[in-house]
């Protein structure tokens, strides 16, 4: 499998490690009123799609950046790769715009 790194171009999957669902970026606010149930859902509830899946990968044997990879879990086709940094920033910007 080859991951097309946004900064470095196509790199061998051996250089990466997998963390899990990209929704882990959206950590709930620990001070909100229903923090307990929010964290329960954050920690335990995951979709398990046969198809497109957004997931976090770490370029450990490379530039040490976190990536959000959209991958088809059936075919292993990689549809898009973004820097997790940019994704998280966009989420924060979206939140403060509300």
């Amino acid at each position: 499998m080859i991951i097309d790194h946004p900064l470095l171009g196509p790199r061998d999957a051996q250089e990466f490690t997998y963390l899990g669902d990209a929704s882990l970026i959206n950590r709930p606010d620990w001070q909100c009123e229903n923090a307990l149930s929010e964290f329960h859902d954050y920690l335990y509830l995951r979709d398990n799609p046969a198809g497109e899946h957004r997931e976090l990968w770490y370029h450990e044997q490379g530039d040490r950046s976190w990536l959000v990879v959209t991958r088809n879990t059936v075919t292993h086709e990689i549809l898009s790769v973004e820097l997790a940094h940019d994704v998280a920033k966009a989420v924060t910007a979206g939140r403060s715009a509300k």
Binding site: R11, E15, G62, S65
Partner: protein, 187 residues
Amino acid sequence: MHNLKAITPLRGVTPRLDHIGTISITEVVDQALASVAARKGQSAVMQQALADHIGLHLPEPGHAVIAAPFGAIWMGPDQWMITAPHDSHELLASEVKEIAGRSASVVEQTDGWCRFDVAGVGLCDLFERLSNAPVRTMAPGSAIRTTMEHLGVFLWRLADDHMAILAPRSAAGSLHHGLVAAARSIA
């Protein structure tokens, strides 16, 4: 304390040099290293400071530059490794910190790494036996971090027939074994 004897990463008194077929493998011990990581939002300030003071224009992702006596390798987003001759820049980290000030965090790296320079026409044949890096398409001036002999290493293409490898110093022996074995297999 003043009589300690310096040894090379391969535990020699003098740097090791191997000639195998067309390939030469040189243990390089005369370079000081310091890593520099820009603090949040300060990357442009830091890059400008280094350019102004020592004429070092930090390279783009996947690249390295030389602005003698300094060199720099891109390590990751907003992070670079800077090299300079050890004899004249033993305190490289302090030197860089003084220039970058509060715009960056600088860490002394000299003794954390070993460096081997591999030269010869069969360079690509050797490296494609050791790593998945696309060595044949790496132009001079490119530098990437990848794995070789199960080690995380930097490969820095200095010229068509010249590659520098930076690897963890404590694993210098393993890396050297891998390089020599691969060189023998293509000799």
